[in-house]
């Protein structure tokens, strides 16, 4: 029985770490602009599929991965320059619809040029799984967890310790006032999109050995990432990790103990319950507005 519990836990942690990585990508753009970037999933796709395509073209994996991630970074910057920046004074919902358009566009391009098949990436480590107390933990999960931990620390430090991080937050709170501080808001946003794309693509590469990858992998992962980010509290990188793990564990325990039919529904009920008591997610900051 214990081994079963461990197995569900490992499975949940793996899933959770994947969602958390995606959620981290949302955090950065959200913090810079309060926009939920629905094209975030597409960055994952570019990371994973880009690596596959490059490897197919004969590029060795250790070049293919950075190249694919760089490609996503460029896509992120282009997304900002060509789609977000020109819509200057658009409100947040409009920007969200633009990111939806962008995600359809990118997915379409990938489908035309990279094909519609699913692909697998090799594991990062030679040993695929380790047995702990009768339960199997994938070594790739450890990679995902490790990288998520590094990213969340880095992002946390960035927002609390660096002037640039503060400038980014300021930009989202009041763009005009930020530019009155000499903050180049355009450049800040571009940077946010670029880095966020890079984080997304890196996530796309490390999760691909588990989730497989294809031109449309971003839809599901992007959605789960958004949900994870929201339960954790939008804008909080630690929250993103917590939210991801919570979602992953809820899914695995539901599938394991309750009903696999309702595996996706039960976590939502839990999430709605959490939001009922914590309307800003687990670690989200309350909007500060005085009258």
């Amino acid at each position: 029985m214990f081994s079963e519990f461990f197995q569900f836990t490992f499975s949940g942690v793996t899933l959770g770490a994947i969602y958390a990585l995606v959620a981290l990508g949302f955090t950065l753009i959200y913090n810079a602009s309060h926009v939920i970037n629905f094209a975030q999933g597409e960055f994952l796709m570019i990371g994973g599929m880009g690596t596959v395509v490059l490897m197919d073209a004969g590029v060795p994996i250790y070049f293919a991965i950075p190249l694919a991630i760089a490609m996503a970074g460029v896509a992120g910057i282009l997304l900002h320059r060509l789609a977000i920046a020109p819509a200057k004074n658009a409100d947040v919902v409009t920007l969200i619809i633009i990111t939806i358009g962008a995600s359809i566009f990118l997915r379409g391009l990938a489908q035309v040029f990279w094909g519609k098949e699913y692909h697998a990436l090799p594991n990062f480590s030679a040993t695929e799984s380790i047995n702990l107390g009768g339960a199997i933990l994938l070594t790739q999960s450890l990679w995902i967890l490790g990288i998520a931990a590094v990213l969340v620390t880095a992002l946390g430090l960035f927002f609390t310790r660096t002037a640039l991080g503060k400038a980014l937050l300021a930009t989202s709170m009041n763009k005009d006032a930020a530019s009155l501080m000499g903050i180049k808001t355009g450049a800040i946003l571009m940077m946010a999109f670029g880095i966020s794309a890079v984080i997304g693509a890196a996530a796309g590469v490390i999760v691909a050995p588990i989730t497989l990858t294809s031109y449309d992998i971003g839809i599901m992962l992007g959605l789960k990432g958004f949900i994870a980010a929201a339960i954790g509290g939008l804008g909080s990188s630690t929250g993103a990790i917590l939210g991801g793990l919570l979602l992953g564990l809820a899914e695995a325990y539901t599938a394991g103990y309750i009903s696999s039919d309702y595996k996706d529904a039960v976590p939502f009920v839990i999430i709605l319950a959490i939001l009922f008591f914590l309307p800003n997610g687990l670690l989200g900051s309350r909007a500060v507005e005085r009258v």
Binding site: A163, K166, A167, L169, A170, M173, N174, D176, A177, A178, S179, L180, M181, G182, I183, K184, T185, G186, S285, A287, V288, E289, R290
Partner: protein
């Protein structure tokens, strides 16, 4: 049409405190011609919101070291003019020249790096950031400068309440505290040209005195100041010169004292 209430350079000369050190670049005789190029030169400024034009081609020149007040009724376009100078409001005509350089194509952030700093209307503090972060962001354009930490301490000495609240989200400050923060934040940038949009709004009488004290002090340090104030009499009293703005046009200009004594200005802005 501009009615120059007085063109007598002597008046302007008198308006400045006798003990103020003369700003660099200004000749001793103080005549307009002799002053050299203005620090800020606005020519034919036109701008509007959608179909409505808010400024109808006005000219303003501010010389280095001057303190200039801008008065006008609600909706005259004062804030709009300051936004034009800062680059937040796009022009439909005219030029903004600062220190000899045409700024028309410069973004707001670039203008800050050149020394144009504004305390905007309505405070505009970063609500979700701490008071200290707000102040530090004021110094964003000079964030690699070693002196920032000292300036922060100086700012705290000036506004002790901000030190007390430095960990609080700026959005939780009282209105007046936010106004102090907005002022402090701008000063952290070490401006060459400081634009103040109603800096005394919402402040208690004692603090208003403090604000005007700061303005006088900055003036003494040679910083150029362009101030919009509803407390028109006090603003004009410390200003070298003033402009009167009426529905998008400059209708009068002259030394602070002259404007203070002008009957139509009195009736419109200084109360009966």
């Amino acid at each position: 049409m501009i009615t120059t209430v007085t063109a007598d350079p002597q008046t302007q000369q008198r308006a400045r405190p006798a003990d103020a050190p003369r700003p660099a670049g200004e000749r001793a005789d103080g005549t307009d011609a002799a002053r050299g190029t203005p620090l800020l030169d606005l020519k034919g400024i036109r701008t509007g919101y959608g179909r409505i034009e808010a400024l109808h081609g006005l000219d303003v020149a501010i010389h280095p070291g001057e303190t200039v007040a801008l008065v006008g009724a609600n909706g005259a376009g004062k804030s709009t003019l300051l936004k034009v100078i800062s680059g937040l409001q796009p022009l439909t005509g005219g030029t903004v020249t600062f220190d000899g350089e045409n700024l028309n194509r410069r973004k707001a952030a670039d203008r800050v790096h050149r020394g144009i700093v504004q305390v905007p209307e309505g405070r505009q503090v970063f609500a979700g950031l701490s008071v200290e972060d707000n102040l530090m962001l004021g110094a964003f354009s000079r964030r690699r400068d070693k002196g920032v930490a000292d300036d922060l301490e100086a700012m705290y000495r000036r506004f002790p309440i901000l030190k007390e609240k430095r960990r609080l989200h700026a959005g939780n400050l009282s209105g007046g505290q936010q106004q102090m923060l907005a002022m402090g934040r701008a000063l952290m940038a070490k401006p060459r040209l400081l634009l103040l949009d109603e800096p005394s709004m919402g402040l208690a009488p004692l603090i208003i005195e403090e604000i005007f004290g700061i303005i006088t002090e900055l003036k003494r340090e040679g910083i150029t100041i362009f101030v919009v104030e509803q407390n028109a009499s006090e603003a004009l009293a410390i200003a070298d010169r003033g402009y009167v703005l009426e529905t998008g046009d400059i209708v009068a200009t002259g030394s602070g004292q002259t404007l203070l004594n002008d009957d139509s200005v009195k009736a419109a802005y200084l109360g009966g």
